[in-house]
Symmetry: C4
Subunit: 294 residues, 4 copies
Amino acid sequence: MPSEKGQRKSFKQRLVLKSNLVKETLSEFLGTFIMIVLGCGSVAQAILSRGHFGGIVTVNVGFAMAVVMAIYVTGGVSGGHINPAVSFAMCLFGRMKWYKLPFYMGAQFLGAFVGAATLFGIYYDGLMSFADGKLLIVGENATAHIFATYPAPYLSLANAFADQVMATTFLLMIVFAIFDSRNLGVPKGLEPIVIGLLIIVISSSLGLNSGCAMNPARDLSPRLFTALAGWGSDVFTAGNNFWWIPVVGPMVGAVIGGLIYVLIIEIHHPDPDAGFQTESSEDKPEKYELSVIM
Amino acid sequence: MPSEKGQRKSFKQRLVLKSNLVKETLSEFLGTFIMIVLGCGSVAQAILSRGHFGGIVTVNVGFAMAVVMAIYVTGGVSGGHINPAVSFAMCLFGRMKWYKLPFYMGAQFLGAFVGAATLFGIYYDGLMSFADGKLLIVGENATAHIFATYPAPYLSLANAFADQVMATTFLLMIVFAIFDSRNLGVPKGLEPIVIGLLIIVISSSLGLNSGCAMNPARDLSPRLFTALAGWGSDVFTAGNNFWWIPVVGPMVGAVIGGLIYVLIIEIHHPDPDAGFQTESSEDKPEKYELSVIM
Amino acid sequence: MPSEKGQRKSFKQRLVLKSNLVKETLSEFLGTFIMIVLGCGSVAQAILSRGHFGGIVTVNVGFAMAVVMAIYVTGGVSGGHINPAVSFAMCLFGRMKWYKLPFYMGAQFLGAFVGAATLFGIYYDGLMSFADGKLLIVGENATAHIFATYPAPYLSLANAFADQVMATTFLLMIVFAIFDSRNLGVPKGLEPIVIGLLIIVISSSLGLNSGCAMNPARDLSPRLFTALAGWGSDVFTAGNNFWWIPVVGPMVGAVIGGLIYVLIIEIHHPDPDAGFQTESSEDKPEKYELSVIM
Amino acid sequence: MPSEKGQRKSFKQRLVLKSNLVKETLSEFLGTFIMIVLGCGSVAQAILSRGHFGGIVTVNVGFAMAVVMAIYVTGGVSGGHINPAVSFAMCLFGRMKWYKLPFYMGAQFLGAFVGAATLFGIYYDGLMSFADGKLLIVGENATAHIFATYPAPYLSLANAFADQVMATTFLLMIVFAIFDSRNLGVPKGLEPIVIGLLIIVISSSLGLNSGCAMNPARDLSPRLFTALAGWGSDVFTAGNNFWWIPVVGPMVGAVIGGLIYVLIIEIHHPDPDAGFQTESSEDKPEKYELSVIM
């Protein structure tokens, strides 16, 4: 009696999504949410304990492993971008179709916002007791940098922009290598771990200038949340209107990083499948096409 | 002469357990025991040395690697739950039969109790010399938090409960992803390592409120041991009777975490083996059945 | 002309060892040498810099990774024991033939001695300038604990012995699990890494009492070296003649640890190859025989 | 119409390098560049934040992971040497042809120089504000050791030379083991991670004397850059003209390290393919030939 069986299962079946795009959008939402709660949570624990239960090691390792876990949760469904700059680069280099980009980016910004709100809830008592209930942006009792990044006092806007461009350049250049099976090759299923190690080294080396956001969603959505939740609109004006740097810089850096890897390493691989010497390449329009920029 | 040989080997053979349930119960006992000795031991080393030979990094990494080792010892026999909340979620989501649950949970609570007693023995001289032989629960000479978790001074019971629910939600949600072979997939045999990294990030990000027990056996059994071993019954009343939070909270969080992963990621996988579209599913009653809650 | 070719290569060929036992002995010598230089070197860097360029994290990770590297260098040749307690347990549980034991142990003790001497040479200027050229065993300028372990002031001999027994029990119990392919299973080639993580957690949790030697060669040979090199014979009398504890304790603990794993986990595996139910077992006399103790 | 297609793709095709040597040279340039920016960047973050956002753990892990990432980017193309001492040893032990050596070394020195310049740019504002714009080599406001290594005050030249020889001996000896598939064997694609762990332990144990450069390009090129960029020629005279030690020492140590591994472990492997017993060995002139030194 297939029909009866079908009926019994129908509630479950109704929950199953048919559309890949909806699945992928949900997945990116969940992944970015996880990254923000656990990643910004690592910052929160260090700041709210005034360094007693966290510091540069737990913050760098914590944020990196938050990314690792987000990729394990979402990688098989949506690729685990959890970063608009990554999604943008994937489209630009022909690894994702452009029509998906607004869905991915929307999910990432929304997931980061909900993640910031959730973290605010988890540490509500802690935040309320930290500075007598005041939610501050500067000074030794500041807590705004739990959620978004702020520049070091010495940093000019020009250097800040170069910093975010360069950091994301390294991020994408090496992410491209990690997923390039014609290079040394990371064993399948361990790519997230190597990306985590990559984030550890970048945040240990290029994190001093401005906290190394490298991700518009990771920075802008939590900043917007803090503006609404009580820190006020100064989160946008602080640091000479720094807020746009971790939004625009990573988009530029992602393109440069991908470009460097492709031009110096990838296109030179001896590979019959690379697809720009024989006609059979037309069967694989999505790979190594560089359709826009080359 | 098979019979003679059988006789010569009979002592060894008599030791071999025929019942899977007994094997699994022993295994969970041993695994939880290992986790407590090495995990709470990492806390002990940091506290008894007043931070000179341990701190947040060694505690977080130590406890996480204690879990990793416990899973390597027990994973192939009993699945390496070492946590009643995990066993409960496994039953609820059709990954373990319900009749095993009391055996698993009993072994876990007992293993944690024996582990706490063993650790007390290993550090007996250290505990006796730390505060002139006094076993204290609060103050700078407190040692009770070597064994069980206690809330931060600022924490309300409501926030404490939410904290334990949320932390365990993240734990189970990501554990489900780690073992979901239709997602990105952790290479076989490395799942314990990734779970260890997961525990590092959760305890680095959500550990400030109340130490991030996420496990009723890990918290209640050592607490009971301290009550009996000299710290007194205040270990239960401390923190506004906090003791039940790390017992009930993780059970709730485990269900929510599993549910989020199943609903947002798992049931949408395109998989002919998933089993709720064809009749052949009746051959696999234990997988992806969600028999209770859906 | 095969003969001519053979002649041209003859110098190289003469160097090639025919005897497995000689190869294995050389391998254990080299492995223990590496472990001491890099492992005790991590302690040296922390002590000689008075904590500025090393601390509990670099010491625990450094010593663990020294073991990892020693195993990668020697594992394929001699099994990478680099520890007399491990070799003893391997013989006792039928995983190595008894006649090899004195060769393995001799190589380990000798390798550790040469390693200590080499480290002394590398840090000669540092040691000479640290305490105005005085080589001290106690006090804030002590350097003897770079090479061997010493007990904490609070520790009784009984607790010290229990400590070394217990630590090595956990070491061997979990090492047996790591190499038990019928359990969860560490991927081939990654066992050294997991052993490294194991050493990190044991030294983070059970290292406070007496530094967690768990290895007679690692402790006795460097101690002997310091006695000869200028620290004097007090290195043996210090801590109420503590020196024999990390020699005897690990031997006892290794047996207990192996026994616990075999009795609680290993012998219960359902395995047609286990060899104590059919006559065919006589073909594999070296595996799972427990020939001495059972 | 193949010709038309060829025309449309011609720009991309023109970028594709035909020569392996050019590819490899580019690859080594890029790899060394990455290592310096992220590796020396980890030192920069620790020094410019005066220890608040970096210390021995982030520096050692950061530099090690910088090497890991550089190898993932270049390993499949040029072998990921990123170190003239490694390339020299590879030639000496018959693993690379001699004619490539000057190209590899040139690329490594150039990549390190450009990397130092890039890092200078990223942290320009930070360097300018650190010591009121003064670029100093000694004292608490020194910044020259961000780029190159300098000896500890207590270190004699003889000990300094022995230190660099020994450190590189351990580096190469263990790197040879990591890539020796007839030994325990690191799983394919994970060699860079194990090399990273190796660098962590060496810099945690043998890093105190002089910072453990172990790489002529990593040290000399950034030192030259600092001489030109404002620190002045004293970067060469400092430490009793220390500059040549991390240039010559690693070359000597690399040879010794390779030699120890080959003589004690590698040539004794039972291997029909090893090639010095039968005539067929003449087909593989590049492997295990030890053509120069044996």
